[in-house]
Symmetry: C2
Subunit: 194 residues, 2 copies
């Protein structure tokens, strides 16, 4: 974790920024409060001044990703207009939020475990997927999207494409703007030249 | 690993079938020869009768996935015809091989580490991705695929969609035939109704 500059004064937000990098590098289960204290360059008791412990840090970190994602569904373009246009907005914004909150969304997508917080995060992720699948179903019903791919399967493949970004994108690549455009083009119109 | 029936006589293939499940459940690094011996229900020396050790088992297991994938590129439909049709064949067959060799491809996609075998597997995976990206570039050059998505980015999103199958597909879901069709439809023509 040598690349993270240590600091002496922390807010919850700046502590989270360090925490999420350690969780992503070592895994949540593999991270101790000792690891977090070392990475942040502050004592464990200073961390306990901000949060109750490791699980609260996880809840705050994945909560930030979830707030970003659920916030999309509240945007005007996601709640009125033709279903296909609302879905297109949600797909583009999901890719944008993933890139803007990359370490937080990466952590959210890697959550697997059995603590209450991990179960809560998995359930909220499923809620988001279901909300998007529902929008996709509406667009199919309106005749705006093809009916020959089962909506649940289409949603899984769509999120597979979007979520894969965390596996290969590196912030020093640049091309942040290009990615949401490419996702929308492939998802809605495919690779084929028209 | 209680669901794997133990047996007293093993071939390399049946030993691999057990091994790949243990590697996928515990991670390659987290698996000891002791774990493999326990899962297979045979002694470590019986395993050493077949292979030199854990790293050879990994090489054989990911080799099986890689042979399946590279085999696609040798198929007649992948080597002659219009680039777009060759690419469509490769995309469909990649999804089919992934489903047919699910635990082996899952292991291949999770390889991250630093042993020689892991480095070799990562390099072979990159080779495969480059071969597909090259085919995609040919199809763009032939005017068969859209030119407004950078080919390397398109390839990443395409494999993101296909490779995500290992994250959500469960063999008891059924619908094996449906998935390669859905992948080809989304990848080439997108979700939009025409």
């Amino acid at each position: 974790m040598a690349e993270i500059p240590t600091r002496t004064t922390y807010t919850v937000d700046s502590l989270l920024a360090v925490t999420v990098q350690v969780f992503n590098a070592r895994g949540y289960d593999g991270t101790s409060m000792e690891d977090l204290s070392r990475a942040a360059g502050i004592s464990k008791s200073s961390i306990y001044h901000h949060v109750r412990g490791k699980e609260e840090l996880l809840r705050l970190a994945v909560g930030r990703a979830l707030d970003g994602l659920f916030g999309i569904l509240e945007e005007p373009e996601a709640s009125s207009g033709r279903p296909v246009d609302r879905l297109e907005h949600v797909v583009r914004r999901t890719a944008e939020v993933l890139l803007a909150e990359l370490p937080y969304v990466t952590l959210l997508l890697r959550v697997r475990g059995n603590t209450g917080t991990e179960q809560w995060a998995l359930e909220r992720r499923r809620d988001f997927d279901h909300r998007v699948a529902e929008l996709l179903r509406e667009a199919v019903a309106a005749g705006e999207l093809r009916a020959d791919v089962e909506p649940r399967l289409a949603t899984r493949l769509l999120f597979g494409m979007i979520n894969s970004i965390v596996e290969w994108y590196r912030p020093d690549h640049g091309q942040t703007d290009e990615i949401p455009d490419a996702v929308v083009r492939l998802a809605f119109d495919g690779l084929r030249a028209v």
